[in-house]
Every structure is written in C-alpha cells, then in structure tokens.
C-alpha cells in the first residue's frame, strides 16, 4: 500500500502526560476512521500530522515529508479541528475569504471556489450571515468548507460529528462520504462514537492510551480476534433440529435457546465457516429461518474486546 501517512515508533508527551506511546500506523487512500476513547491520543495524532506540535521521538511522514516546520505541505492538507474557533463577527463568506487569502488565493478565483465549496457543504444560503448566529451543524459544515477551500488531497476531520443533532449528523456523514466518493479526497476522520465511524468506513485504526491497538478492515480485525467467539442470533420456527446439528459442528462454542424457542444465540469461533455451512444445516434441519445477524461484527464489539 502506498501510505499517505506513515508512522513509526511515534511518541509525544506533555510533561508527565503521554499523548502517543510508540505509535505505529500506515494510512492509505480512502476514508480511515481513527477510533478511541477520550484522551486516547486522537487529537494529539492530528496535531502532529498538521505540524502544530512536534514528536518527542519516532518518525512521521505525510506524503513522504515530515510535517513539523513544513508549512508548504499544508497545501495538501485540510484540517478541521474538533473545537469551535470560527469568529462570530465574520460572515461565512468573509471567513472563507480569509482562509483563501492565507492559502494565497485571491480575486475571482477565490470567490468562485468559495461559492463552489459553499455549495458542496450546502451553506450557500447562510453564507452572508454572521457566523455568531449559526447552529452547531452549520458551524461544522463551514469548518469543513474552510478545510476544502484550497482543494487538498487529504482531509483531517477531528470529531466532526460532536455536539450535532441527529439530523445534522446524518447530513455531515453524507457530506463526508460525498467528499470522498464524488470529489476524490482522502479522509482521516476521528471519533469516539463507534457506530458513526462504522457508517463512514470499514477501514479503522483503534487507539487506546496512545497506542495503535488494531488497524485495518473492521471485519478482518474481528476475524483475528479468535479469543472472543462471535455471537450470532438466529430467529425462526422449528429450530430444535438446527440446534442439534449446530452442536455437532466443530466451530460451535455454545448454543442458547430463547424461552419462546423461536430464537437462538450461537457462539462460534469461525464465523466464516459457520455462514458457509448455514444453508446446508437449514436445509437438513427443515427449520423456517426468519432472521440471522451477527451481534458483534461491529466496531463496538471489537472496541469492547480490545479495550475493555
């Protein structure tokens, strides 16, 4: 993989507090989710990527270059931090004019691009109002507009969904997906809200206490966690025969039947084999299947097992 971001042995501490601890990660193209609880090092990682702070030890490269004291590289990065910094006395358009100006954009080119970006984030109507009157969702969208303005290949979005209402959150998730799918930006997005990251990407990195605990595709990570059997729910009619067949399978760890006898919770240590064999077992048992779903082929379960 041609890594956009490559990190080896990166450590950063603030006095006695460790931000990142021997952190290793490679991030490639696409949308990558950085997941971790509060204080795990996500924001520290982003500040290192943008050259706001420098690492105490280790090696970090973004597009093959060290970001510390390398402002030219920020032409290729658009950063949207988690905190609110928008000046309330400016309008959205004036703010974009400022951001464009410090990216050496000017004149008609800047005005045109600002319009374009306001359209992408759906903020054209509110662009000429003072930002002090914006809602949280509007502020988030304008922050994203600011980091899009100079059309960087890489976007860093630090907790972009924090503090937004469900409707705004959905709009932002759709926007982030569009930015990658329609506009070709590679995105690194951080969050501590697991199901939201799952809606954005399957490609994740889990950070805990300054370390990368797991990176890669969510399903592959789950598969690697053989110490934690998968929980699968099966619902239907006449499941007794299926239970007997499941018990005989080598991958089955346990089978639990519900009181109504219309539901099973099956623990398996090889979900791939389980799903491969399930159609045959259903046919053999003659049961009527209504639903099958995995309880923990999701980020929350992975997170819970890895981090506790």
């Amino acid at each position: 993989m041609n890594a956009i971001v490559s990190v080896r042995g990166l450590s950063k501490w603030y006095g006695k507090v460790i931000g990142l601890n021997n952190f290793n990660i490679d991030i490639g193209k696409g949308i990558t989710g950085i997941v971790g609880p509060n204080g795990s090092g996500k924001s520290t990682f982003f500040k290192l990527l943008t050259g706001n702070i420098k690492a105490n030890t280790g090696h970090l490269s973004v597009f093959g270059e060290d970001p510390w004291r390398n402002p030219a590289q920020l032409m290729r990065i658009g950063f949207c931090p988690d905190y609110d910094f928008l000046p309330g006395e400016l309008t959205g358009r004036e703010y974009l004019r400022f951001v464009g100006g410090i990216h050496a954009m000017s004149g008609n080119a800047l005005a045109t691009r600002a319009d374009e970006v306001l359209g992408i984030v759906n903020m054209k109507e509110a662009a000429d109002r003072r930002m002090g009157g914006y809602s949280k969702g509007m502020r988030q969208r304008l922050k994203i507009a600011g980091c899009l303005l100079h059309n960087p290949p890489l976007l860093l979005l630090d907790e972009p969904l924090t503090g937004t209402d469900p409707v705004a959150r959905k709009d932002l998730i759709d926007l982030i997906l569009r930015l990658h799918q329609d506009h070709g930006h590679d995105i690194i997005v951080s969050s501590h809200v697991l199901h939201e990251v799952e809606r954005l990407t399957r490609n994740i990195a889990i950070i805990y206490k300054g370390r990368a605990v797991a990176t890669g595709d969510l399903t592959e990570i789950r598969m690697l966690m053989s110490g934690h059997p998968h929980n699968i729910i099966i619902e239907g009619q006449n499941l007794n025969a299926l239970v007997k067949l499941l018990i005989d399978q080598r991958y089955t760890v346990s089978v639990e039947m519900s009181k109504s006898r219309e539901g099973l919770k099956v623990q398996v240590d090889d979900p791939e084999q389980f799903f491969d064999s399930l159609p045959r077992l259903i046919k053999e048992s003659g049961c009527e299947l209504q639903t099958v779903h995995s309880l923990d082929d999701n980020l929350e379960s992975v997170f819970k097992y890895l981090v506790g």
């Binding site: 603030y14 910094f85 400022f98 990216h103």
Partner: protein, 250 residues
Amino acid sequence: MDTRRTLIELRTMVVFSARKLILNRRWILVLAVAVLVGGLMGYSATLEVDHLSYASDLLNLLFLTFFLPIFALIYGASMIRNEIDDRSIVQVITSPMDRRASFIGYFLALTIVLSLMIIITAIVGWSSYFIVAGISLDAVDLLLPYLLVLVLGSVAYSSIFLTSGVILRQPIYLGLFYIFIWEGFVGSIPGAIADMTVRHQLQVIAAHWIEYGDISYVTGDALVSAMALVVLTMVMVLIGAFAFREKEIS
C-alpha cells in the same frame, strides 16, 4: 520563495488582523480615552500659561509616557496570546503560510491600528487644547513631531509586547512591570541607565524638533536614538518570528 504568494498571504493577515483589532470591544476604551483627553486638555487650556510649552508637556505626559505604552500593551500582548488561548490561531498555523511571515502580518496590523488609535486620540487632545487656546502655525509645528514620534513608539512598543505575547503565558504582568517599574522608575534615575528605555529614545527624537516644554531639554543624538529603536524593533520582531515558528501550539 514565491513572492506573489507571500504578498497575498501577508496582505490577508494584515487586513483581517487589523479588522479584528478594530472591531474588538476595546475600541470603547479608545473612545473613552479620546473623550477624557479631549476634556482634560480642553479644560487645561483655560489656564494662564505659556500654551505651547504646557501643551507640549501634556502631550508628553499623557501620550508618550502613558497612553502609548498602555495601548501597545493592551493590544499587543494579547493579540497572538488570545488567539492561542481561544485556539482561533489554528487557521493560521494550519495554513501553508510560513509562521514567520504570519508573525510579521500580525506585527504590521498591530502597528497600523495602534498608530491610528494613538494619532487620533492625540489629535483630539491637541485640537481640544488649541481650540480653547487658539490655533497657530506653531501649534501645528508642535503636533507633527509628536505624531511622528508616537508612530515610531507604536512600532517599537508593538514589537516588544507582541513578542512577549508569543513567548510568555502572562505577558500583561511583564508589560506592566516594564512600563511602570522599568520605564517609570528606572527611567527617572539620572544617568546612563535612563537611556535604556524606549521612552527616553522617543523623547530624544522629539527634542530634535520640538522647542517647547520639558521635552525640549532632553539631550541626546536623535539619529542614534532612531537607530537604536530600529535595531530594537528588528531584534524583537526577529525573536518573535522565530519563537512563533518554533512554538508548539496544542
């Protein structure tokens, strides 16, 4: 280095930083000072005194000694420090603009705004005085050197306090110490040690042109003083620019 890029970035920094300074509620303070100074100087003009000398002393005491360094402290020490504290500086430090150039942008904006504010209040005070005392060509001759010296002072003090705002977490206290203890106390000790203040250098320069009031008795080489201020400003701006570049901003 792409000169055109840098100029566009610099211009943007200067315009928006100056706008932020002017729109800040601290302009109420400047307005209050202008009204106060206008009233004070206007009332003082009703005294039976040598008006040119007395006006010179008032301009020296009120502006050169007090309001110029105080305004520079209030605006300069907090300009970058406030942006670091409220984290609005993120848009500047995550732009491709060299941080040293950003610092110069802040410095230019501060100097322009500070000069404007101090000039306006000085003109208000001078006008109030001489409207009562009677305007003359000599009165205009008195004002112009003071305005020039106030602009020079704005440049010098801006460099000191802006840099202190980058380096220190609480630059205001050091600034107060500098103005009231160093310039106020040390600056009044007879001898060479009094020369080591910005205020003294400004007074030496002013004394070169002004023939009225106590300031005309200040001795020294105006050219040397001007050079000293230029060197001080350059050194402080360099220190500030490099400190800003090296600063880790969380």
